[in-house]
Point group: C2
Chain length 120, copies 2
Amino acid sequence: MRSYGQYCSVAKALDVIGDRWNLLIVRELMLRGPSRYVDLLAGLPGIATNMLADRLRDLERDGVIYRQEAPPPVATTLFHLTERGEELKWVMIELARFRVGIPCSVSQRASSAIATCSLV
Amino acid sequence: MRSYGQYCSVAKALDVIGDRWNLLIVRELMLRGPSRYVDLLAGLPGIATNMLADRLRDLERDGVIYRQEAPPPVATTLFHLTERGEELKWVMIELARFRVGIPCSVSQRASSAIATCSLV
């Protein structure tokens, strides 16, 4: 994790979730719910297994996810989004809107947020 | 620019603006307006000059910025955000909200968006 070393809130947010793969890991946890390491690996084709481990460690340190040692019958580690991590859905929505090219006005945003929420 | 190679809109958006420094270059153009190369370099301490050139080329190719050969008395190249690039202000707002930790509800979003807009 390389910091931009700036006080700007955007730069500080990118210090936490700007590294390659981080937002896609968060996306997987939003879509799948609590997930095993192997599920995340399967959902992110192209990520190296040591990179996934590094990213999960960073995201846990920064309060975006937490890990739980689930009892039997799961009997493995599950990764969850924290409340703070859940807040990243709004960043996802705006990224998706940017990609799709939906023009934006404040009045559109409220209704669109409701509509898009059901997709995240 | 490495693509995630996924059809998901979030991944596609990150293919365009997910590389390190890209969103901060956009932030500089939002705050400063049309800017010279040297102004961008000064506003982004730590970026290598060849990396800035690479990122500007990528962002131009992807329709986020455009360059203008400004006539005298400016007499140099200016970088501008395109209309599409301006839409990234919503991503910035959500990143800043994530950093600051403001809890989010749809009704709060509309008023907050108005308030935050004046800061971007």
